[in-house]
């Protein structure tokens, strides 16, 4: 198509050639910003990760080789935090995806009135800072004074201490995280659903395919790229969840909700072991970058014929 041809000509290098050597002038401000805001701190963290740097031992200082990396890898708490991170992140993403897709399917119906109103209501939790949301739920879920247990009590239901047992605390974190972020998943999946070719769906309907078959054999395959984007981006964000844990459980009870980001925070701010905290952060960054690369590879090439 003409637009693709133009797009190919005005692709990054095409436009660059057209503009000559001045192309770098246009990207320099952005490069400076990215270098300053991202590059310098990451480079410094990398440097610190090979240093022995404990703030309350200023006399102890110097190159420490890979000791900072091996130290936390031998710490049982590190592996507990990895396990918790995977449990909480995958749990949250699965809940958000299933719920988000169900809501998106309902909102994608062509004869739905008031779609914008529903979307606006769904947006409210997402606009709230994590800390505010966490504090609100902490109050709502208070075992003796929270309204949730009060209402449960009125109908004769159980009134558990939501954050006092490891299993319930994890489920509660997953729930609050999902309450906050399901709307994002809804928006992404809804946009994908609204872009589906109506002809395919009409053809399936004419051929006698029911809703379930249409969903399984038409919608799901066509939605695959959108689903992958939604899942991986949510997974990356969930892996880095910190404020919710900090506000609601402090990593407890015991170490039940201590995630990797919380573990790193403790290393840096409680133990004041900056070197080890930097090393753990670099490892974490590597994992997240790996997921981003995976995402980029899974995205369809827009220039492919």
């Amino acid at each position: 198509m003409a637009s693709n041809a133009i797009g190919a000509r005005l692709g990054a290098f095409g436009a660059g050639r057209a503009l000559g050597g001045g192309r770098w002038l246009f990207v320099t401000p952005a490069l400076i910003a990215i270098t300053g805001v991202l590059g310098v701190p990451i480079a410094y963290a990398l440097h610190l990760s090979f240093d022995k740097d404990i703030l309350d031992q200023p006399a102890v200082h110097g190159f420490n080789g890979i000791h900072n990396y091996t130290a936390f890898l031998h710490d049982g708490l590190f592996w507990t935090s990895v396990e918790n991170t995977l449990l909480l992140s995958i749990g949250a993403v699965v809940v958000q995806f299933v719920l988000g897709f169900a809501i998106a399917l309902c909102l994608a119906r062509s004869n739905l009135r008031g779609r914008n109103t529903y979307l606006s209501i769904l947006l409210i939790p997402m606009l709230m800072p994590y800390v505010a949301g966490g504090l609100i739920w902490l109050l709502l879920l208070n075992p003796t004074q929270g309204i949730v247990n009060y209402l449960l009590g009125l109908v004769g239901g159980p009134q558990p201490a939501w954050l006092a047992s490891p299993t319930l605390a994890r489920l509660t974190i997953i729930f609050v995280d999902s309450w906050h972020n399901t709307a994002w998943t809804v928006f992404i999946l809804l946009s994908g659903l609204l872009m589906l070719p109506q002809e395919s769906l009409d053809a399936a309907s004419i051929d006698g395919a029911g809703k379930l078959r249409t969903f399984r054999y038409i919608i799901l395959p066509l939605m695959k790229p959108v689903i992958l984007v939604a899942l991986i981006i949510r997974l990356i964000a969930s892996l880095m969840t910190f404020d919710l844990i900090y506000v609601m459980t402090g990593g407890g009870p015991g170490t039940a909700t201590e995630t990797l980001s919380f573990y790193i925070y403790k290393l840096g701010f409680k133990s004041l072991n900056i070197g080890e905290a930097a090393a753990a952060s670099i490892v974490f960054l590597g994992v997240v970058i790996g997921l981003v690369v995976l995402l980029m590879r899974m995205l369809p090439d827009p220039t492919a014929a």
């Binding site: 703030l55 309350d56 031992q57 200023p58 208070n142 075992p143 003796t144 004074q145 009134q159 558990p160 201490a161 939501w162 954050l163 006092a164 047992s165 490891p166 605390a169 459980t249 402090g250 990593g251 407890g252 009870p253 015991g254 170490t255 403790k266 701010f269 409680k270 133990s271 004041l272």
Partner: protein
């Protein structure tokens, strides 16, 4: 005649010497450059914002801080120095202090800070707190000998040097609901079941019986036998009271005493009370939640700081005026104290000392005590005016005198964290009390 570049530009526009487009372009450039220069100058400037006539404090958001705020106008009137206080929750304090204290000489935002027991050694080892020897030796208002010795010992002296002046102490006592102990129905039932008087418990085992009786009878959701704070990093200090009350200790004759019968039993009792007699969610309860539980009338007792008696009795809650206080049931409770300290990174150390001296002086301490602050000077505890207003302070003083300070192992965050996790293993049933204490002992922190 225009003075500034901006005024010059406006004049030229009015005279028609520049087009509107040129005016807007140059105006934006001027505005942005002025803001940028101002920001850059601020960033390059000496840390603590404002002039030497302003001091910034970081304090915990509790009543003690309100009492300090109330006496600041007089300080400002006398010295011309304005004081602003940033109030935050306890949980956030250490995290806010670390970046400021490590910012480098003259770059701290805070000029005077309050420091808790587990932070002091770490801050001193990092070189972040000013040695106050010189100031103290020249001061006529503040002498460490005028304070309750255990408050100084608890937190003020590190490696034989003074780094802090006591601010207020949080020695632990046994708070109980007087109306519950005066309840004849409960009393008769207790006496019938146990053949013992319905009275304030005097040993740890008595306390266990007292709390479990109430919880079994009333239901912990309605009335917990005792409010407990077993959240991570809170349970260590709470259990320490049980250890001391049961006659146990961390060290005896230079050796670890954590595996002695009194210590193991204290943890077993702590675990039983947590599972049977405490409020729902005690496993994850922090101080504010404990206070809310008591104020809602859902706790019969609480092993907590002495100053909470005054705070609860003067609160606008269901239990105002009903809280009694006794010694921890057993031999002793914990004594710990907050202290005033000056960061080495503060650019206004002399002014900070002036404020510290003012706040810690006898007259100002007396004013604060009359408002309800917990004294750290024996002379204030014995003051007739204070005792007339707060007669319970007589008991507070005796309790403070007979309390024990924390062991060295718990005067660091790492030590408290390690103990906290081992205690959790015991109270959640993953390990026996003995195994949990063995685990902690093996970490060579004792």
């Amino acid at each position: 005649m225009s003075d500034t570049p901006l005024e010059h530009l406006i004049d030229r526009y009015r005279d028609g010497r520049v087009s509107r487009r040129t005016f807007l372009r140059q105006g934006v450039a001027l505005g942005l450059s002025m803001s940028s220069i101002s920001l850059i100058l601020d960033a390059c400037g000496a840390g603590s914002s404002g002039s030497s006539k302003e001091l910034h404090l970081l304090m915990e958001d509790i009543d003690e801080t309100n009492y300090v705020e109330a006496v600041l106008p007089q300080f400002t009137k006398e010295t011309g120095i304005k004081v602003s206080i940033e109030k935050i929750t306890y949980e956030a304090m250490h995290d806010k202090l670390v970046p400021q204290l490590s910012a480098g000489k003259g770059k701290s935002e805070y000029d005077l800070i309050q420091v808790d027991v587990p932070w002091t050694k770490e801050f001193v080892d990092a070189g972040w707190l000013l040695n106050l020897s010189d100031y103290l030796s020249k001061s006529t208002e503040v002498k460490l000998s005028e304070f309750i010795p255990s408050t100084v010992e608890s937190n003020g002296i590190i490696n034989g040097q003074p780094f802090m002046v006591p601010f207020y102490h949080y020695a632990y006592g046994f708070l109980f609901r007087r109306d519950i102990l005066e309840n004849d129905v409960l009393g008769n039932a207790f006496e019938k079941e146990y053949g013992a008087p319905w009275a304030v418990p005097t040993t740890l085992k008595d306390f266990e019986r007292f709390a479990e009786f109430i919880a079994a009878r009333e239901g912990t959701s309605k009335l917990a036998g005792t409010v407990m704070l077993a959240k991570r990093e809170e349970n260590g200090l709470e259990w320490l009271n049980y250890l001391y009350a049961n006659g146990g200790d961390f060290l005896r004759n230079g050796k670890s005493a954590l595996l002695e019968p009194e210590a193991v039993e204290s943890l077993e009792i702590y675990g039983r009370l947590l599972s049977k007699a405490s409020q729902p969610g005690a496993n994850n309860a922090a101080f504010n939640e404990g206070q809310a539980t008591m104020e809602a009338g859902k706790g019969a007792s609480w092993i907590i700081y002495l100053w909470m008696q005054t705070a609860l009795n003067t609160s606008k809650s269901a239990i105002a005026g009903k809280m009694g206080l006794a010694r921890i049931p057993g031999q002793a409770g914990v004594m710990a104290a907050w202290g005033w300290a000056i960061p080495t990174a503060s650019p206004k150390q002399a002014q900070a000392w002036e404020l510290l001296q003012y706040l810690a002086s006898y007259p100002v301490s007396l004013k604060r005590a009359l408002m309800g602050a917990e004294p750290v000077r024996p002379a204030i505890y014995e003051n007739a005016e204070v005792l007339a207003k707060w007669p319970e302070y007589k008991e507070h003083y005796q309790i403070a005198l007979h309390s024990k300070i924390e062991p060295d192992a718990l005067r660091t965050i790492a030590g408290q964290e390690a103990l906290s996790l081992d205690l959790y293993e015991a109270t959640s049933g993953k390990k026996s009390a003995r195994a949990a204490l063995e685990s902690f002992s093996s970490k060579n922190l004792v």
